[in-house]
């Protein structure tokens, strides 16, 4: 159980006379804990970068950082969508396959109709993802099947569809040479030195974060994850909200597929394989509670950035790639331990606040 360190007996009368003053501190406390959570990831990130730079000063060279941001961009977009789903106490394991399908669909569109404007290609890929998300969401919300099971099924189904399409169209791989140059330019495009793909990811995170915090339906997503029964009793349209979360997540996975196509420009049917667990890991490391109800998209984005950085930093430190997986595992465990510790602390503090003067 929680057994904080014994504090010396206090001078009591003043302490006890003050319960109503503790009121405002309650929210400050909660807020501080969340900030601590996000600062923790940031600190880990800074530490990692520092260590790597000491070992290899070229780690912070322009090209290296740009590569890092490009890789992080895709994971971040996925993590933003996944956060919306996880806060409702669901999970979407099919995002890797959706990414693959959307990347392949976008590529095919551009091969078949090379004149397609880039914007249209982006919208098309996003739409493919949205349709996949709609399918997931319909089964979860309408049929009431646990999302873990549903999306585990569609993980294979969407991937299978992708392979089937590729083999029946006799186009197992799409190469850079097949893609129009306008689209390829997107992968390398920069604005003020920052890769455009990364800016897209930042925009997505800010938008989702703003939505979750500012709109009734965004708050309702948290409510659904926090207490599903209470959500039903308070008249929240649970099914519709969960469906929306899945559709948005699917659309973002579709967008991530387009980003993937633009960045790698060589597409086959394995694109995005295994990403789903990496995304969930990013969200968990970022403080999104896997049982729903709490966590922010900013934390998840930081988690994605951290995981990507580990992936690129470890080889630079001269470590075997095997260590990447071990490090990710350790991080997840550390994140869970940290969340638990913070929660116990918060609970202990808040419980004390029940005792209050009532007049």
């Amino acid at each position: 159980m929680s057994a904080p360190v014994a504090k010396p007996p206090a001078a009591l009368p003043e302490e006890l006379a003050a319960p109503e003053r503790t009121g405002r501190r309650g929210s400050a406390l909660v807020h501080r804990l969340f900030v601590v959570r996000e600062l923790g990831i940031l600190a880990a990130l800074v530490l990692l970068v520092l260590v790597t730079v000491v070992a290899n000063p070229r780690f912070l060279s322009g090209q290296n950082v740009r590569d890092l941001l490009l890789s992080a961009a895709i994971l971040t977009v996925l993590a933003a969508g996944q956060t919306m789903v996880i806060v409702t106490r669901n999970v979407d394991l099919s995002v890797g396959s959706v990414l693959g399908l959307s990347a392949y669909a976008t590529g095919t569109l551009l091969v078949v109709a090379p004149g397609t404007p880039v914007v249209v290609a982006v919208l098309a890929g996003t739409a493919v993802g949205a349709v996949c998300g709609l399918l997931n969401g319909l089964v979860v919300a309408a049929a009431g099947v646990p999302s873990l099971v549903v999306t585990l099924g569609t993980l294979y189904a969407f991937r299978g569809l992708d392979s089937l399409w590729a083999s029946s169209a006799d186009r197992l791989q799409i190469n850079a040479a097949d893609l129009p140059s306008g689209f390829k330019a997107l992968g390398g495009a920069r604005l003020l030195g920052v890769p455009v793909l990364f800016l897209v990811a930042v925009a997505v995170v800010l938008l989702v974060g703003w939505y979750l915090r500012t709109f009734r339906s965004g708050r309702e997503l948290y409510g659904i994850g926090s207490a599903p029964e209470a959500a039903r009793l308070s008249g929240i349209p649970v099914g519709r909200r969960v469906l929306t979360a899945f559709v948005v997540n699917g659309a973002l996975a579709g967008l991530a597929g387009v980003l993937y196509a633009a960045r790698f420009q060589t597409l086959d049917t394995t694109a995005g394989t295994g990403q789903e667990l990496f995304v969930v890991a990013a969200a968990v490391v970022g403080g999104v509670a896997i049982f729903g109800g709490s966590g922010s998209v900013y934390g998840a984005a930081l988690g994605a950035l951290l995981l990507t950085t580990i992936g690129t930093a470890l080889p630079q430190l001269g470590l075997d790639p095997f260590w990447r997986d071990a490090a990710v595992g350790a991080l997840i465990l550390a994140a869970i331990a940290l969340d638990r510790a913070l929660q116990l602390r918060l609970a202990a503090r808040l419980r004390g606040r029940n005792a209050r003067r009532d007049r």
């Binding site: 159980m1 929680s2 057994a3 904080p4 014994a6 504090k7 010396p8 007996p9 206090a10 009591l12 009368p13 302490e15 006890l16 006379a17 003050a18 319960p19 109503e20 503790t22 009121g23 405002r24 309650g26 929210s27 909660v30 500012t214 709109f215 009734r216 708050r219 309702e220 948290y222 409510g223 994850g225 926090s226 207490a227 029964e229 209470a230 959500a231 039903r232 009793l233 308070s234 008249g235 929240i236 349209p237 509670a289 109800g293 709490s294 918060l346 609970a347 202990a348 808040l350 419980r351 004390g352 606040r353 029940n354 005792a355 209050r356 003067r357 009532d358 007049r359």
Partner: protein, 512 residues
Amino acid sequence: MDHASSSAPGRVVLALEDVGKSFGAVAALRGAQLELRAGETHALVGENGAGKSTLVKILAGVHGPDTGRVLLDGQPVALADPAAARAAGIAVIYQEPTLFPDLSVAENIFMGRQPLLPGRRIDRRTLARRCRELFDRLGVALDPDRPARGLSIADQQMVEIAKALSFDARVLVMDEPTAALSGVEVERLFAVARSLRDSGAAVLFISHRFDEVFDLCDRITVMRDGQWVSTDPARDLTVDRVVRRMVGREVSSLFPKIDVEPGEVVLEVRGLTRRGVFADVSFDVRAGEIVALAGLVGAGRSEIVRAVFGVDPYDAGSVRVSGEELRKGDPAAAMAAGIALVPEDRRQQGLVMELSVERNATLTRRWKLARGGLLSSRAERAQAAEWSKRLQVKAGRLSDPVSTLSGGNQQKVVLAKWLSTEPRVLIVDEPTRGIDVGTKSEVHRLLSELAAGGLAVVMVSSELPEVLGMADRVLVVSEGRLVDDIPRARADEDSVMLAATGQGGTSAGAAR
């Protein structure tokens, strides 16, 4: 939604006609009826499992009736879901608090109805202000921005009440809102309920405390076994008549307290202190003694007993059982030393809602029932059956999940679970919360008998008659301190209330 002013007093706003509702083989309602008029406070009473909460859930749009009709302003309506009931102007406080633990108190109250800025953005400033206004009206000192997680049961209930009030509804339904509240809070709630009534709303009030029912309500509807029994003006009724209609037989609501000569000191609490919560709490409890902790909600009574049992930490002091000091913050050690705690919040701390009645009832003593490490389900079932019978648990089958039981019956299962551990010190926090008259006196008889058999009992209770009827000594807690120690002979309503509100306290200080 300003429905309240639109209905003329005395007009029937909401009615149930011949409503039936079954859950599988259990017929929760058969031919229930109810008629709520504008400008009246209406009580609904009945034993545990009589179907009161089921009826409430039909009014709330949670359950659809199998048979019968719901009439709003004389017109049949289908309340398809909770949103529809809200739109019809019906606000409901459910028996079990239904809060979002991760969200702030203010968001809990206004979920789905947050005040908006242009562009449909949530206006957080107004949200906090409106929440504070509601709390002022109810006299609650809660911070709107704190999360609902960790609120005491009483505070959860106050948040639920604030939520229901915020609707400005024409029908306010309250399912045992006072079960966790003490006199002062109840008075405040009633003042608000009366002012709603006077502005033309219909108020439906459910409680097992008859003094409250007669204090607040204009008319009383009695239910038994899912059926309507009677509806009469309160002034034509007496408590005895209501009870007889509820139970169908005579029940003595007197507490059969057995006088016991106290034995050795079993529980010794010295200088227990938790900063900001309670301070320098010292008391002894002897074998055979029933000691009540009385005081206002939020005085720190539950926090004290939780610290004694070890589920909460404390900063200073000691707890001894039969002279042995307990390790602090270690409930397992406390249980091994023979302490049992029946917690206040049965849903979160007392029961595993998905497990069956028998599993829950024997959860704490599974090792004693095990043979060679294997659980004997026959022994388990026999034990569960015995305690369920002694406490008159009304359940379809003992293998049904606890979540399908009525609120009062869930409370009985929690009691059964701890009583069956045969403890030396029994700490009960609100032992009869939500329990009906018949069983209440049964629980009191049981506690009294157990004490006579040498058990030391510490009882936290907000119900003054219970405290006065049961306790050998009343320890009054006010703002985290023991302010008085009143022996049975001197304990009465005035002495306890004066001490609790900080105006009395003749023998203030530690009680040894």
